[in-house]
Symmetry: C2
Subunit: 251 residues, 2 copies
Amino acid sequence: MIWLGGLWFTIFTSVVMLLAIREFYQINSTQDSSPMLWLGWIATLGIVMMYDNSIALVDNYLIISIIGVVLVGMAVELFRVKPNPTRNISITFFGIFYVPILLGTLLSLRQMDTDYNSHLTFGLFISIWVCDSAAYLAGRKWGKKKICERISPKKTVVGCVAGFIGAGVVFSVMIATKVLGTQFGWIDVAMFTVISGVFGQMGDFAESLIKRDVSVKDSGSFLPGHGGVLDRFDSLLFASPLTFVYVQLFF
Amino acid sequence: MIWLGGLWFTIFTSVVMLLAIREFYQINSTQDSSPMLWLGWIATLGIVMMYDNSIALVDNYLIISIIGVVLVGMAVELFRVKPNPTRNISITFFGIFYVPILLGTLLSLRQMDTDYNSHLTFGLFISIWVCDSAAYLAGRKWGKKKICERISPKKTVVGCVAGFIGAGVVFSVMIATKVLGTQFGWIDVAMFTVISGVFGQMGDFAESLIKRDVSVKDSGSFLPGHGGVLDRFDSLLFASPLTFVYVQLFF
């Protein structure tokens, strides 16, 4: 889908985000709160349009939309007669900012690939996968000291370091073979490695924290053997927006 | 402060918002959740800069800031070792969207007054005050049927209708005396009346709902005899952004 780009990638990303925000609301519905899935879905589609067409730049689209979502959410809660309205709205908004606002940056990144003839989106996905795999394999083989047992009881220091190195190898190979895009240099490789190898893993921890909060192990069962959609995209939730911000600010 | 405009109004609005978001977090800290006041305050100041300078229009300032707040909030919660991290972040974000995102629109509205030689900001404040007073007086004198006892046990149908009429009278007088601004017509008066007289009162109900949720009567004790800052600005939380959106879209 990254390869095809355009509408295909938009549809793919949209479906992932719609499923992921539903999972987020589902796992957070256990603590007697009732987030509004329909509002999250409408906001997701609006955010897709924003990232996909860069209409954030045009007029006050974004701020007017935010105001709309906030007011509609609160007005609906007035008539809803559910317990804990504040928490319901809060979780609803958090889901919107956690899932589509962060993950939707993939759309803008992918468009930048088209504009600049780069393969940064591929690099991002592959570095995250290699980071995860390297962390898992090295951690299982040599890992002893746990890095943060409170949040994620199985992750080891060795695994995290191996994951970081793995991400660095991916970007290094991509720049050496001129696949990444000629506008990027070794400093950018270092930054992308930190983003995927450090902040990507932090995204993993952040999702573990959310799951631990509500005592679930997997965010869903969408992909058999892989847990839920959120579990698959947790690192990208942090790595994609940071890559987007980095490229926006420096290119 | 509305009269002085410029830096004075910015300072006034900023202080109101900083106090109001603190109150929001305080009343929501009772339900074993710990919102991050410092993050709410930083976001408030950023939002002040945005509305004050219309830098939402320039570059991707707003979306990059949102991404920053979301990622920083989650990263901090990783190291914070407090119970209920999801709820803490959720309440923190909700406070940001409820208070500065909505109320900060006052700054853009006041700047429009300067640009178009109008007195819409005055009209907004006065219509809200007259609406509140008319609703209170008429409700106490003639009110019988309660409008929504579940949320606000004292408000009556008669009071709400009187408030709506009061708001309409304010805007009608202002347009008839050419105080409101010559670019506005009677259709705009009708719209502003609906915004202040219906949605302003809805803002009042929304804040009651939030307080009811945590079983407090006043949001704070900042103004003796008047409750907290949030209690004073609850109608404006709904009326100001809607006026802003209306003016943005049609002028």
